[in-house]
């Protein structure tokens, strides 16, 4: 029987997880995390040809070669191999973009292209994926640094520029999917209008309406045009007396990141 253990092909006659544990990690079995085809289990499940098993010793830093298999061990089987080849842009690295970038990096999207012109300042920390040590840094550079700490097996390229009507098409020319994650409605409209008139148009996943603390359930993903998916409640704008806060911005960013993942896996429905 041919199986994979920690990313490496093995041929084995062992038939269940406890035998595998004893056979490959003879130490303390209580200290082992066992993941079978994306599912963490303490049980002695049967194993079958083609199974992917990851065994992780808690508190131990794995060998470099096993580390990548461990990072993606909780993914649905087949997902990591597919997203690894993808290239996705994130336009704007604020509340939406920084959360989208982190989610896509954790998912293992092979190449992320980050675009933002601004620096990290204290009022960003209420919802954006930065820390005190990043204050004053360009968001592109801070996020690149952060992503390297989360998943060192992806490549991240950055452009520290403001997106304009003039540079938009050239800037995103190599990106199959672009996340619109800007703050200002004019910037959102500019990006959508510029990129959707490009030929061939990329798929764009945008966000509109996620301020305040209205119900999370009003935030939706809709396919509003052939190549444009829009997440958010489409109404609740940031304004005097209604701020942008981590929970609801995170819900919207999660919608956007999941729509990107769906597109990468061939699911075109919202």
């Amino acid at each position: 029987m041919r199986i994979k253990i920690n990313g490496k092909e093995k041929i084995t006659e062992l038939r269940d997880l406890y035998s595998i544990k004893a056979g490959y990690f003879p130490g303390n079995p209580e200290n082992l995390v066992v993941i079978l085809n994306g599912f963490q289990t303490p049980d002695n499940l049967q194993i079958n040809d083609g199974d992917e098993i990851v065994l992780i010793e808690k508190g131990e830093m794995p060998e470099q070669t096993e580390f990548e298999a461990m990072l993606s061990a909780r993914h649905t089987p087949g997902v990591y191999e597919r997203v690894k080849k993808a290239r996705v842009a994130v336009a704007g690295l604020g509340g939406l973009g920084s959360n989208i970038a982190v989610a896509l990096a954790r998912t293992g999207v092979g190449h992320l292209h980050l675009v933002d012109f601004d620096v990290v300042e204290p009022s960003n920390l209420n919802r954006q994926q930065y820390r005190i040590k990043h204050l004053g840094m360009y968001k592109t550079e801070a996020m690149q640094m952060e992503l390297a700490e989360i998943n060192p097996f992806i490549s991240v390229s950055i452009d520290t520029v403001r997106v304009t009507e003039k540079n938009a098409v050239a800037l995103f020319a190599a990106d199959e999917i672009v996340c619109e994650a800007f703050d200002h409605p004019e910037a959102k409209a500019l990006l959508i209008n510029s990129l959707l008139t490009r030929c061939p148009a990329p798929k764009i996943v945008g966000g509109s309406g996620m301020a305040g603390f209205e119900s999370s359930n009003t935030i939706q993903t809709q396919r509003v045009m052939k190549n444009f998916y829009l997440c958010g409640d489409r109404q609740t704008q940031a304004q005097v007396g209604r701020g942008l806060m981590a929970p609801r911005v995170g819900v919207c960013a999660g919608h956007q990141a999941n729509m990107v993942l769906r597109l990468l896996l061939g699911q075109e429905d919202a």
């Binding site: 704007g92 604020g94 509340g95 939406l96 973009g97 994650a181 800007f182 703050d183 200002h184 409605p185 004019e186 959102k188 409209a189 959508i192 209008n193 959707l196 008139t197 148009a201 945008g206 966000g207 509109s208 309406g209 996620m210 301020a211 509003v224 045009m225 052939k226 444009f228 829009l230 489409r234 109404q235 609740t236 704008q237 940031a238 304004q239 942008l244 911005v249």
Partner: protein, 67 residues
């Protein structure tokens, strides 16, 4: 009887207007929208040239601030 469909709703008195006139009449802020006209995105500078006609199908997306 108009057969212009905008954002999934049949809209009366829209035919024989330009797209720009319609958008202004309805109070859209032109710098904050994207318009798909019969399946194609229309550049902002072309709004004034598009004459709405029976059978047209439009999707108008307005963006609000926050991100």
């Amino acid at each position: 009887m108009s057969l212009v469909v905008i954002n999934g709703q049949q809209v009366d008195n829209a035919e024989k207007m330009t797209l720009k006139d319609y958008l202004v009449r309805e109070g859209y802020v032109l710098s904050r929208i994207a318009v798909e006209y019969n399946g194609e995105i229309i550049p902002r500078e072309a709004y004034g040239e598009k004459q709405l006609q029976d059978g047209d199908c439009l999707e108008i997306i307005s963006f609000v601030g926050g991100g």
